[in-house]
Symmetry: C2
Amino acid sequence: MEPLTRQLRRDDVADIVAMVEATAVFRPAEVEIARELVLEALGKGEEDSGYHFLLLEVDGVLAGYACWGPTPGTEGTWDLYWLVVAPACQGRGLASRLLVGVEEAVRGQGGRLLVAETSDTGDYAQAQGFYRARGFALAAHIPHFYKPDDGKLILVRTLPGRGGVRTGT
Amino acid sequence: MEPLTRQLRRDDVADIVAMVEATAVFRPAEVEIARELVLEALGKGEEDSGYHFLLLEVDGVLAGYACWGPTPGTEGTWDLYWLVVAPACQGRGLASRLLVGVEEAVRGQGGRLLVAETSDTGDYAQAQGFYRARGFALAAHIPHFYKPDDGKLILVRTLPGRGGVRTGT
């Protein structure tokens, strides 16, 4: 069946957390952050919490989700906090489909820049390659950021359309 | 009189906000963030809120403050959120004194890295020079991050002592 995108619902919490855990690349502290962002959005609403969600279903089962929001203290910069596809559903273009949905939503709000962060370790090589292929440029590498020998990469994509600004120095 | 450092008190909110505004370099949205972090720390406590404060008084009047906390999802990385000295008290080494206090507190908690962010515009040239002189290295430059023509610099300092890790790649 064709994947369907939909909004966050109250009964998604456990499925999202289970999916994040199933990827086996996120640390327990990160899984806890994923859960907190879902609860914040459900409790305060997406607008007030600053955490927006897009979910993807395949055959009625949760197959992936994205979470993003405006970067505090900026005008037109947005953070892509989470982009996760269930292990059983990977390799089918679902991450791209989610990202397209995120970018459309952000551009609709006048967003100019989309910022993603990921680890520099081999476990995240797939994520690194994905963002590069989708037009993100490497803006920073901070070694040992998450913990010793686990550094952070910051990837930035300039969104086309209104308010767009080239990110060349 | 010698400057005195002390902890955050409930009656500091208005003075801190007024001082941040008086520097004339922070945007209204940033001033609002400064206020929110103070309220969070007073409401939940510094440990639970994740926002720690150190204040500096000269002649019984607030002369500067720092706000920092553990970076979520990391082991041993801390964010320096705010380091502000009242305009009338600048040029007397108070920012360095605050930073020494922050670094001692972070090292005492096993912190390895201290991360500061600032703007790439001329208004923040003093801050940029200060961090460089205090051993911070430039880790990232993200043009147009805050708004068009107002980019972000990320500066990172490896703290000496236990748990220290060199940040060379």
